[in-house]
Structure formats: C-alpha cells, structure tokens
C-alpha cells in the first residue's frame, strides 16, 4: 500500500474527507464473535477505514450509502479448497462467484499446470490482479503417477519460481501415501514451501493413527477429506485445519455435523467446495449454499460464517487483509437479510459493489490464459486399431467405476458382457493406453473428453475401436472438448478451447452443453448420475483403487503399476 493511499485512508478514518462507500446495518464481527446492531462500515478505495457507530462526516455528496436496515453485514466468503479444472476458466469462476458472496477463491493448480506449463501458470497468476474477485493459487502438488516414473510434472527450479509468486499460498493437496513412504522429492518440496513461510495442504483420505500423525509430523497443515465427525475430530486434535467439503465432488457436511455437539473449538474448522460445477454457479449456488446448509443442519450461524471467512483467512495467513470486517482489511463484504438466510442482497469486493440480489454488476475481466494454449490436439488422428486391447491372457484386470469417484479392480474375461473399453491418451504424444472398464454401462457409442485428473490427459470410453476413434477424432478437431457419439453421428458436443479444459466465452453455454452431453451418455445406456465426473477421474491416483494413466494400470493401495493381463 503506497504512502499516498495510506494518507487518504487516514483522512477518511479521521473524518477529514468523506468515504467512497458507507454500509449500515448489523455487523457480524468475526473477531469478537458478536452481532453489533447500528454499525457503520466506511470504505475508501479497496479498504475498510472505519467500523463503529455512525459519524456524519463519513458521508459526503459522492458517497455511496447502502443501508441494510435490519440486515447483517458479514465478511465475503473464502473458498479454501477448490479446483480450476472443471470447464470453468478463472474469470468465469470469479465473475459467477461474486453474486453468491464468494469473494475469494483459493485453488489447486495441478491441472492448470499440466495443461499450461510453468510459463502459462505464471502468466495466469500475473493476470489475477485485474479480476474483480480475489484469487490465490496453491503450487502444483506432487502427482503420484508422475513421481513413480521419476518425472515430476514441474521441476524444482520452476516449482521455486511458482512458490515465490505472491499469489501462491502453499503446496497443493499432498497425497498422504507419498508422505508415509518418505518420497524424497515431496519432502524436499514441503521444505521449500515451509522455508517461504507457506504451508503444505493435505489430502489424507482414510489415513488415521500413526500414519495420519506422520503426515502432520512431516508438515501437512490441513485436510479436506474427513467424511465423518470422528475423522474430522482426529485431524483437529492433530493441529490440522479441518476443511469440511460440500461441493461438486462429494458432500460431507451432514456426516461431519455431529462434531458440533462435541463442544470442540471451531476456530480451525473450514467449509470448502473442492470444486463447483458451471451449473451450480449459474444457479447462484456456491459457498452461500454451503453456509446455508451448515446453518440448516444446526451449526451456529456465527460459527458457520467464520468457517468460510476468518478461519480460512487465518489458515492461509491472509487475515491481515481478508476474512473479517475491520479498519485496514480489504473491503470484501456481503449484506444478508438476516443471520440465517444466506442470500446476499449486496456483495462488495475490493471496495466495489459487485453484485446485487444475485446479479453480477461487473463484467468478467479477461483472464491471462496464454493465446497459444495447447493446440496439439488438432494434429491428432486416430484409427480404430489405436483402441485395440493389448492382451497376453484371457483374464484381465478391469477398472470398475460407479461408487462416487472411487474405483475398484475386478477380474473378467475379455469378452464378457457389460464391459466397455477405456482409453487414456497421453497429452504430449497422443498415444492411447487401452483397458477395460465396468460400470459405465454404454451399450453403444463412445464418449471422449479432453481432460482428466491430475495430468489432464484426454480420456475415451466406448463400445469398440470404431466408435472410440470417431469420438476422439472429433474431440481433436474441436481442439479440445467433449464429444458423445453413436455410429458416426455426434449426439452432443462441447468446445473447450482453453487447453482442452474450458471455454472462455460463455459459462451458460458450457453448462447447457455439459448437461446435454450427460443426457446423451445416458441415452447410450449409462445409469451413472455423474458420468463425465466419473470419466475424468479414472486417472486419479489420490483415491483408491485401480487407476489408469498413459503408461498403464496403477494400483493405488499397493502403490505400484500392475499389468493388464492376469498370468
């Protein structure tokens, strides 16, 4: 903050010149935990300069005065764990988050990294200051698959460049098996991050006792994976910031809610999304919905709101500027009808009125995506035989899907009914690895999608090589996107030109096309409720069990590659 700006803030605080904006109402003070009626919040530029009883000198002829009446003024919401990976480019995410009261987004970057590379990621980071909301990144995590090949997705030198960026708040979610096995590269990166005063975030799903303690001992500072009150309590006791996930991937809030009756301190509890869909954003549902759900489940409203404001800001060392309403803090706030109705009437971010009654008042600012982001897709051409199975035996390992985003290993004979072919295409070389999958339930056609977790390799599922080659070729022609086809006809498609993961133009068109694609997939025979989510996570080594990547099958529990054929 420059000297001139500070002097202007002081002038307003001291009553020497009027504020730019004044908001009047009942203040939710997350520092003291109080509701304080009759409070005036005065704003100059992007900063709150005064909170307290009204003072006439704060308002001048050009001051925007928002009188909330009986309404509650709360801090803007902060999503402490989300992903930029699902069809929503960063500026669309920001623009559509603001009307929900979500003024700050802290996102993982592994997928962005896999598609844009270090230069693209740095370009994106540099462009964030022009966004009308606050966006922070976590450095790309250490990807299990890559590490088993001794080929980190980002090398140490580039990793260092990334963590030195002021918008990078830590290391992205660390998968716990890498910790307990003492992966040297991971531990070195934890050290690098800690030396910068930043914290490594954790993904400790299912870990407990000695292994969970080991993760904390190695420096993991948070976890967003507890799915019961007991798991949340164990993590809290270990000093971790506990993020309760309620979003696109899973909804754990109800199962964790019994925690509220144990009388524990809630200062280290956080509510997060772990990802939001375009459809939810367009419907105006994001952290507002999560907080509402927490209140409806019986969490005290003040605690619930602190779990998306001060608690998150403190965890990430942002509380000197974000997470509460007080002089010196950034002017990010929401005005609610009352403390139990999380429907923002006004949203102010960076001192600007950015949304009113669910409508955004600011245009999406252009994001800094590299113009030449991955166009490699367009050169690919597939033949049906590219999707042949390469078998040495009759009996094979099959990826079973359908239980959320978990997978299991089953063993089948290659010709058994109910199986589909599943392929992952190496993003760099365009070469597919093909295996069998059970649970997609396609009786005809194929589906291609140009991204997947965490390496962002394209994935294809279908009934045979002809169908799969057609879908994959159309996806390549589009330069990235999703395609559902049958017998040489496209049933549904969407264009994701930004690195094959998102479309900069219109989130509503993307959302409609995603919905149409899911309908089309169901018309091919699938009964999955979330078929595109299941498809994009067949590669995900952060959860059990049998996963695929461009070089083969991977058994997450045993932490080893396994052959397709059973001897």
């Amino acid at each position: 903050m420059g000297l001139q700006k500070t002097l202007e803030l002081l002038d307003v605080a001291l009553g020497r010149r009027p504020a730019d904006m004044v908001v009047k109402g009942t203040l939710l003070n997350v520092y003291s935990g109080e509701l304080i009626p009759g409070t005036t919040v005065a704003i100059k530029k992007d900063t709150i300069v005064y909170t307290g009883p009204h003072r006439d000198e704060l308002s001048g002829p050009n001051t925007l005065v928002l009188d909330a009446g009986d309404g509650v003024i709360a801090p803007g919401f902060i999503d402490g764990h989300t992903h930029l990976d699902y069809a929503t480019p960063v500026h669309q995410l920001v623009c559509h988050s603001l009307p929900t009261g979500t003024t700050t987004i802290i996102t993982e970057t592994t997928d962005v990294m896999a598609t844009l590379g270090t230069a693209g990621l740095m370009q994106l980071l540099d462009g964030l200051e022009h966004q009308p909301g606050n966006v922070f990144f976590l450095a790309p995590q250490v990807v299990l698959e890559s590490f088993y090949e001794q080929d980190p997705c980002v090398d140490r030198e580039n990793f260092r460049r990334i963590i030195e960026h002021p918008r990078v708040l830590g290391l992205g979610e660390v998968y716990w098996p890498l910790v307990t096995e003492g992966n040297h590269e991971l531990l070195e990166r934890i050290r690098m991050v800690q030396e910068r005063g930043l914290q490594p975030q954790g993904h400790t799903s299912g870990a407990r006792g000695a292994r969970l303690a080991a993760c904390a001992a190695a420096g993991i500072s948070s976890c967003h994976e507890p799915i019961t009150a007991g798991e949340a309590l164990e993590r809290l006791r270990l000093g971790l910031h506990v993020m309760i996930r309620e979003g696109a991937i899973r909804r754990d809030l109800e199962a964790v809610t019994p925690l509220k009756d144990l009388g524990v301190d809630t200062r280290r509890l956080i509510l997060c999304s772990d990802g939001v869909t375009p459809a939810a954003l367009l419907a105006g549902r994001y952290l507002n919905e999560v907080v509402q759900r927490a209140i409806d489940l019986g969490w005290p409203p003040t605690a619930a709101i602190s779990m998306v404001t001060l608690n998150v800001a403190e965890h990430f060392g942002l509380d000197h500027r974000l997470g509460g309403i007080a002089p010196g803090k950034q002017a990010d706030l929401v005005v609610l009808p009352d403390l139990r109705q999380i429907e923002p009437r006004w949203v102010i971010c960076q001192g600007r009125l950015v949304a009113e009654q669910g409508r955004s008042l600011v245009p999406a600012a252009p994001a800094g995506y590299p113009e030449d982001s991955d166009r490699g897709f367009q050169r690919w051409r597939f033949r049906p035989e590219d999707f042949d199975l390469n078998l040495d035996a009759e009996e094979v390992r099959v990826v079973q899907v359908g239980k959320g985003i978990l997978t299991a290993e089953t063993r089948r004979r290659a010709g058994e009914p109910g199986l589909n072919r599943l392929a992952v295409i190496d993003r760099k070389t365009g070469r597919p690895f093909v295996c069998l999958a059970e649970g997609f339930g396609l009786r005809s056609g194929a589906v291609a999608l140009s991204f997947s977790w965490d390496g962002s390799h394209p994935v294809v599922v279908g009934v045979d090589g002809n169908e799969m080659a057609f879908a994959a070729n159309r996806m390549a022609e589009l330069g990235g996107g999703g395609v559902v086809c049958r017998e040489g006809q496209v049933l549904a498609e969407l264009h994701l030109p930004v690195s094959g993961t998102s479309d900069e133009e219109s989130l509503s068109s993307t959302a409609k096309r995603l919905e149409a694609a899911e309908s089309a997939i169901r018309s091919l025979g699938s009964s999955l409720s979330d078929p595109l989510l299941v498809l994009q996570t067949v590669t995900f080594t952060g959860l059990p069990s049998l996963r695929i990547n461009p070089s083969g099958l991977f058994d997450v529990r045993r932490k080893t590659r396994v052959p397709l054929s059973l001897a």
Copy 2:
C-alpha cells in the same frame, strides 16, 4: 528441516524406531479446546512426532519416559510482548524463564538498538539459535523523539536488514500519535514490514473511536495497552489482537477481566508481561504467575492457557511450529499438576528437558553481545555546573512524576521547595539537559542510571549539581550502572557493563543490588514505590505528558517541544 531429519521423524511416527522422549498424561489440546486423558506425546529431536493413545513401539531402551500421572501436558508459554531493557541480558532472561514454563519470548528492541546499533543487534539475533529457549525480536519502533528531529534511530537501509532476519516477527510497538498525524517515515516502515508478510505491533494507549480506527486502518495489528474491559473490547472489535498486560510496568488483568463475561470469542486475546523484573524471574514468577492470576480471576483455564500459547503463536504467524502440542510442532511443553495449578513440574523446550520443579536443568548459553559494547561512558567527567539550570524566567515547567509511569506538567518558581533537578545525558555526546522534577522527593543526594526509555540515554536526579556530578561520574567510572549517593558517599551501586543496561554475569546479584538501590533512594527521602522505574521512564514519549530528552522538554499530547521557562 533437512530431508534426513524429516525421514527420522517419520520413522518414529510410523513406529519403525523409538522416540527420544515420551510424555504421558492428560493433554490440553489447544486446537480442539479439549482435555484428553491417557495421551502419549512422542518426541524425536526437537519435534513432536505423535500424539494420541499409547503405542508400545514408541518407547525404546534409550527413550526418556516422563509419566505425568494425572498431570496436564500443556504447550510452552509464549510472552508476546516484553522488553529486553531492564537489567536482564537475553541469555539470563531465557535461562530463568524456562522453569516458569515460558519457552518463547518475543521482545521489543528499541532499547537494544539504541545501545548496540544495527551491527550489535544483528550479532545478537544470529546468536539466538544457541539459546535453550526461543527468542524472537520485533524491529526497532519509530521513536517519537527522534522522529521529530528527522533523525530515526535506525535508517531505512539498516531497518531493512533487520526485518529480513528470520527471527524478526514485525515492527515494534507503534505509538499511535505518529499514525494519526500521518508520519511519513513511520507509514513507510509499516509498508516495508507488511511487504515482508510481518505485522506492525501497536501501542494505542488511550486512543478510541476515529483515532483508534485510523491506527487499524494504517495496519496496526495489536495493542497491549487496554486498561479496562471496554478498551479491550473496542480493540477486539477492530480486529486487533488484544494483549492484556500483567507485569513489571503495570497490571491490567483484573481491570480487563469483566471482558470474560461478555461472551466474546477469546481467540484474539493474549496475556503478556510487557517486561519482567530480575526479582520476579529469580522468584520463579513470569507467565506462570500471569496465567494463574487469570484462572484465579475466573477465566476458564483452557482459554487462559490458549492466551499464552496458540493465540500468541497465531498472531505472530508462528503456529506452524509453536503454540500447541501436535505432530510437526516443536517440542515445547509444560507438565502441570492440574489445570488450575500453573506450577510446572517439568518443562521441555526444543525437545530437551530444561527444567524440573522450578529448577533450571540447562546452563545459560552465552549470548552474542558485542564485546566492545558501549564503553563510551568511561570517558565522561562531569562538573557540578554541568547540572546547572538554564533559565530565562522565574516560572518554569516542571516534570511531575509519581502516577505510575505517567508524568504531568506543573508550573513552579525555580526555588520552590519539593523540587529536584532532573537531567538526561545524551548517550552519544555526554551532554546533559537539565530541568526540574517534582515527586521524586529526594531531600538529599542523587541517583544516576545509565539507561532510560526508548533512546537509552543515562538519567540523573538529585538535589544539586554537586551530588548529581558525583553520581554521574561514578556511573561513568563503572562503565554503566546505577549509583545512589549522598555527600560524596556511594550508598548503593550496581554495575551494568553490557551497554549500560545489564550485567551478563549474575542475575541474582543484579536483583539484590537493584533492591538495595531502591532502599537507598527511599533513605534519601523518596516515597515512590518504584523509583528506578520512574526514573528510567521520564524520557518515554509513548505515554503522556511532559517528557525530557537530551535536547529539551517534550509535550506528548501537543506533540511538540516546549521551552523550560515560561515567558
């Protein structure tokens, strides 16, 4: 933390090798706010690697096992605001703090800076890693007196060097009038500190409303000056970390205690000393006494202990390593008989058993004081006429002392009874400024002391020039110290060879000599309960009202120099 060390921590956490130390008892978990009986805390090197139910594999033949029985294991205490200035060198402070359970000290450095300069301060900072306790510094604050002469006690370049040291946690207590008047140098230093991710600490005594808000707007993050519950609440609501002072200078805890009945969140409340005397340290009274007092006043024990552990660590961004008991945190802990009896049976710091039943088990490690620290005193020789008053009129401004460490301006005729002469000697030039003081009550003799707040200039008070010159010359001969004399006889003296502020050798001898000096001062006629404290604070511009410095009288409320004589 090096890779090899992390691997060793993981080995112990995972049960592959035994711990160095195991402590068993009821854990006070400051993260969850719970008391958890039957907990084992396992330590490897300086780090906690496991907390939870006992596991046999944690103990080996060389493991030190401390069984607390029904006792409570709590985190080591952190003093979030103290001063190294009062006769106690840093290694003596650390060594005597440990038996009280105080394992971390965060100290101001303005006085150290004034005596040692940047090079000495950096040398001291570099030597702290060898101490058996944890010591962190705040960068020298902006001293009011100096700034009015446009002569900061440390220039910007050296200030930058200081704040880049990893043991420097912020900017020392900022006096609020400098903020509200928009002092450019101060605001620039606040910015420099914030850019490092550090926080400026505040001294906002008496400020409220618009002016207090202005301090927060400018970036002040804490205050240790509230002396009522109302003042504490106002600061808490403004997002400040509120430090409740209970120590050598003042005891505010009882007056602030009604805050506990207001139902406010206590996460941003901190208990601090603002300075501890050698006598208190030698009697084993430091933060243990403060916490005990809080509990005796009715604060819930868990909240009171959090106010010297997690809350402090969070404020200073140290909570990734300090302030709680969990894997990955530094092994700093105290074992108490029970939650309401703050008498540490064992104290562990940095993984070592450092104290047992109030006795230190570790020798004082040598501190890194520069060997040639200020010997300039020894060249000084004063004549009686150096302490003559320089008057233009009969009526003069008089510094009135006696209300704690506040002063007031009174107006007297030079010859009136009950007045003493008071002098401040410029530490650089050896030149005194002389005025009149009321309230010391000396009827004979003089007192000289080789330090004072904040510029560390020597001070002398006495009945005439003969007595004052004798005392000052003896202080100079000693090369720093305190002298009480009458008619050419030394009644009491103490030697403070380290920059005229402390003695490296023996804290108990210093304490005894301080006590003897205070008795001697009373024998000269003074009825002040703390005459040496009053004397060393006549220079202090952080509190009202009339203060003196080497170039004259200063009116703190009017923020201006004032002449001695009234026209």
